[in-house]
Each structure stands twice: as structure tokens, then as C-alpha cells.
């Protein structure tokens, strides 16, 4: 009984910490994104609020909170209010299954604390299923707004996410074949032992799986060059065009967390999670993990300010005619290599 209580308390603490980190993560990320944008465009980025504009996200948040929360008259009010929550909850729920490290022993007590909430034996399936749910929020948001731009954004998003979900699931299948497990902790453990054990360098299929996963991931989180659902040029802001204030902030929050999720998954699937690539640098594993994720997030931002947006038919072509056939071939090759 006592053991169970302790476990429950530990899990509650973990959930609390993870929730707080996830809620506050978009605050520095928006700042970093605007700074990266600024420097790539040879500007300074935010500079006025605080030193080097570091307090800009706080100012933005205050602004968001003070904005009027507009609900269009003809909107479906219930769905309209539900949609941001429906996008946000799956983005958070994914992190139940995501490990950020193996385990560490508490000093003095000698108790092992695992750095994940649960080591599900079907974590890959859980993540793909739950992250797929967030599309409901986007479609509902687009539909409930009763605006043609929003509904078009929502429909594009539906088509895009369903198409690329297939390629992404295939990439996950590839990882499962390489690591012989559906558990994320096991997947990371199977890659331990330095750079050349990582799935990314399982030649020749590793890099191909990685690229498929990465491209599909870009499309899944609606980032440029696949941000068709919120195409500023032709749809104003896409599915969240009618949203304002905190509801809009929820959509942005979900989007940033989805970006973090894809980065984390790419690190766990292909870059050895918290594994030290050299085996000699005495850094705590969690720092390796955070560093790799940060590099990925930078890559996302870097790509955003480099590439233009694909046309809708090009998007579909890449998804159905390139990624999925390539993944099918890759499944075959991986299978032959794993015999």
C-alpha cells in the first residue's frame, strides 16, 4: 500500500513538472523563432522589451490575455470553444509516453526515479494514435468558424495530415523493425553505444527512414514548407482566422508543442535519444537529449525561413507519389537486412 502511494505521488510530481515545462516551453520558443527569423533576414528581431527582447513573449502573452475573445455570430459556439482545447490536449497527452532519459537514483534515499511517466510497450502506436487526434481540433476550428478561409484551411489540414500520417507511420514501422521494439525506452536502448549504433546511420536505410520521418513530421506539424492549412498568402490565417485572444494562443501553443514532439520523436527514433555519440564526453544524458532536441527545433526554424511553401498539388505528390512508395521499398530492404 505504501509503495503504491509513493508511486502515485511520484507520477503526480512528474506529470506536474512535465505539464509546467510544456506549458512554458512555447514562451522561449516564440522568442527564439523570432530571433532566428530576424537574424536570417539580417534584422535584429525583437529588441525593445528587456535585454535583446527576451521579455517579448511575456508582453505578447499579456496582450493575448487582454484581447477581446471574439466568437463570430454565425459560428457553432460549442465547437468553436472546444476546438482549441481539442488541439491542445493530444499535443500534451503524447508526452505521457515520451521518455527524456533512463533513470537516476535519488541521493540519500537510494530510490530509482525513471525519467518517463510510463514505459508503454506500445508507445509508438500510442503516440501515432494520440497525435493524430489533434487534427480534430483543427478541422472543428475551421468548420465551426463559419468562414470560408477557415474551412478551407481545416480541409487542407485534414487532407495533408491524413496523407502524411501514412508516411510517418511507415517511418515508425522502419524504426520498429530496426530496433525490434515498440517501446520508446527500448528503442533508445537498442541504439546505445555511440554514433554508429544510431538508427540514423543504419546504412543504407537509416538515412532514408530519417528523411521520410522528418519530411512527414514537417507536414504533420504544419510547418513551412508544408504550412498549407495556415497559408497566409491565400487563406489569411487558415483554420484559426476567426480566433482571437487566448483561444488563438491555445492553437499556437499546440503548434509549438507539436513541433517539440516531432523533434523529440526524431531524436528518440533516429539519433539515439540520450545516448552520447562519442562515449567520452561526461555530460548528463538528459543534456544530450535536450541538446539534440534543441538542434532539431533550430532546424525546423531554419527551414521555415529558407524554403517557400509548396503548392497544394505538389504537397499531395510528395506525400503519395514519393514518400509512400519509397517507404514501401524501404520496408522491404529493411526486412531483408534484418533477416
Amino acid at each position: 500500500m505504501f509503495e503504491t502511494t509513493v508511486e502515485v505521488i511520484i507520477i503526480c510530481i512528474k506529470v506536474g513538472v512535465a505539464g509546467m515545462v510544456l506549458f512554458s516551453l512555447p514562451i522561449p520558443l516564440t522568442w527564439v523563432e523570432r530571433k532566428v527569423a530576424g537574424h536570417i533576414q539580417v534584422r535584429l528581431g525583437p529588441f525593445r522589451v528587456g535585454p535583446h527582447g527576451i521579455l517579448q513573449p511575456v508582453a505578447d502573452m499579456v496582450k493575448m490575455l487582454l484581447k477581446e475573445d471574439v466568437i463570430p455570430t454565425k459560428a457553432d459556439k460549442w465547437l468553436f470553444m472546444l476546438a482549441p482545447i481539442m488541439t491542445m490536449v493530444p499535443a500534451f497527452a503524447v508526452f505521457v509516453a515520451i521518455p527524456v532519459g533512463d533513470k537516476f537514483t535519488l541521493p540519500f534515499i537510494g530510490k530509482d526515479i525513471t525519467l518517463y511517466m510510463s514505459d508503454m510497450n506500445v508507445a509508438v502506436v500510442y503516440i501515432l494514435a494520440v497525435s493524430g487526434l489533434s487534427i480534430y481540433g483543427i478541422i472543428f476550428g475551421g468548420w465551426a468558424s463559419n468562414s470560408k478561409y477557415a474551412v478551407m484551411g481545416g480541409l487542407r489540414s485534414a487532407a495533408q495530415m491524413i496523407s502524411y500520417e501514412v508516411a510517418m507511420s511507415f517511418a515508425a514501422v522502419g524504426v520498429v523493425m530496426l530496433s525490434n521494439s515498440l517501446s520508446l525506452v527500448e528503442i533508445v536502448k537498442s541504439q546505445s553505444g555511440g554514433l554508429f549504433h544510431w538508427n540514423f546511420l543504419y546504412l543504407p536505410v537509416g538515412p532514408v527512414w530519417f528523411m521520410i520521418f522528418f519530411i512527414a513530421g514537417l507536414a504533420e506539424v504544419n510547418r513551412i514548407p508544408f504550412d498549407l492549412p495556415e497559408d497566409e498568402g491565400s487563406l489569411a490565417a487558415g483554420y484559426h482566422v476567426e480566433y482571437s485572444g487566448m483561444r488563438f494562443a491555445f492553437f499556437m501553443l499546440a503548434e509549438y508543442i507539436a513541433m517539440v514532439t516531432i523533434s523529440v520523436l526524431a531524436v528518440i527514433f533516429f539519433l539515439g535519444g540520450w545516448d552520447d555519440p562519442t562515449g567520452v564526453i561526461p555530460l548528463p544524458p538528459i543534456l544530450w537529449f535536450v541538446g539534440k532536441v534543441a538542434a532539431f527545433i533550430y532546424l525546423f526554424m531554419w527551414i521555415r525561413f529558407t524554403l517557400p511553401r509548396y503548392r497544394y498539388d505538389q504537397l499531395m505528390t510528395i506525400g503519395w507519389k514519393i514518400l509512400i512508395p519509397v517507404s514501401l521499398v524501404c520496408v522491404l530492404v529493411t526486412g531483408l537486412m534484418r533477416i
Binding site: V42, T306, T317
Partner: protein, 204 residues
């Protein structure tokens, strides 16, 4: 999907076709583009942080706010000949001559009133061309934003004050500055001893 640009490629020869496929397989163009933006990301920005940290000091040839000058003995060079008034295309200069034998000016005739309306002035520099004694010169001051148009008319006392930019400082440089906002108004305090670089070179 006939017009899909990704699909239709005119393969002119085997070699170009192979190159086309290799280019796309290894994301060559993407990597090139990413390298360009990375270079910009790591490069220093060209933003001039005016007025908070930096200020541009104009070249000597700059035509800014007028100055009235004195000779080496401190006598006013202006002889109130009113040629600048005649030369001015916008009639923004007002000169009223006055007799003065105290030695305030270089001659017995000095300007009792010499004022210029900077709202009308187009900074053409005809007044300095017309001046026979090099009394009026267009200086290097350019911060003339104001809330009240009456402060845009400068009279002789203000024009005779020495210029803010030290005369031995060649222009075209950026110096450290700070921005001061008080109840009386706003001011950019430039520190002319702290040069931050050449303007032209900073433009790359």
C-alpha cells in the same frame, strides 16, 4: 496532375537525368539554400540601433541645419547683405540689418535678426553659395523632429552656437549614442569619442 512540376522533367541526356535524380535524392538544392540562410543567420546584422545605442554622423558635405559662423577672433562673419534671402527659393530666411560699431561683427553692418524657418527650408544650400563671407553654412544637424512648429524657426542666437558634431570629426561614421526622454522633450546624446565603425563598410 499533368502540370505537376515535380513529375515532369525533360531529360535531355542520360547524364543530366542522372544528375537530376542525384540532386533530388541528396537534397542538394535544399542544402545550398539552407547554407545561404545559415550564413545570414551567423552574419552580423546591418541594423543601425538609432537612437538607443548608435547614431550616424553625416559627411562634411551633408546639408543639414544652418549654422552662422564667426571668424577666428570670434566676430560674426555675417554682414547682413541679404544675398541669402535673395537666393533662397522658398523665402525661408529673414534678415534685418543693423548698424553696430562695437566690433561684434567683421564690419559695421551686422544682422539684427537672422532667422530661418526650417519648415519651409528645402536644404538646397543656395544660401551658403550666395554668402560672400561664408557666414552661413549648412551643418550636420538633422534631428529636427518637434511637436510645435514654432520651435522649427531658428534665430540668430541658436544658429551662432557651435555645432554639436566636433569639426575635426570626418563624417560617415557611427558613434555610440543614448536616447533621453524627459518632460521637456527627447534628445539623442551622441558620444563622439566612441566610434563604432565606418558607415560604408558596414553596408557591406
Amino acid at each position: 496532375m499533368r502540370d505537376s512540376r515535380i513529375e515532369t522533367v525533360k531529360v535531355k541526356s542520360l547524364e543530366s537525368g542522372v544528375r537530376w535524380i542525384l540532386k533530388r535524392t541528396f537534397f542538394v538544392d535544399f542544402i545550398k539554400g539552407l547554407m545561404v540562410t545559415l550564413g545570414y543567420n551567423l552574419s552580423k546584422g546591418v541594423t543601425l540601433r538609432y537612437p538607443d545605442e548608435e547614431k550616424w554622423i553625416p559627411y562634411r558635405r551633408f546639408r543639414g541645419v544652418h549654422t552662422l559662423n564667426r571668424d577666428l577672433d570670434g566676430r560674426e562673419l555675417c554682414v547682413a547683405c541679404e544675398l541669402c534671402v535673395k537666393a533662397c527659393p522658398t523665402r525661408c530666411i529673414t534678415v534685418v540689418p543693423m548698424e553696430d560699431s562695437t566690433g561684434k561683427g567683421i564690419s559695421d553692418r551686422v544682422a539684427g535678426v537672422w532667422k530661418v524657418d526650417l519648415v519651409r527650408c528645402l536644404f538646397c544650400g543656395y544660401c551658403e553659395d550666395a554668402c560672400p563671407t561664408t557666414a552661413v553654412r549648412l551643418g550636420r544637424g538633422y534631428e529636427r523632429a518637434c511637436f510645435d512648429l514654432s520651435s522649427a524657426v531658428l534665430d540668430k542666437e541658436k544658429l551662432l552656437l557651435p555645432e554639436e558634431v566636433p569639426p575635426d570629426l570626418d563624417g560617415g561614421v557611427i558613434v555610440a549614442a543614448s536616447f533621453e526622454r524627459t518632460g521637456a522633450g527627447m534628445k539623442v546624446n551622441a558620444d563622439f569619442t566612441k566610434l563604432k565603425g565606418d558607415w560604408l563598410k558596414m553596408q557591406g
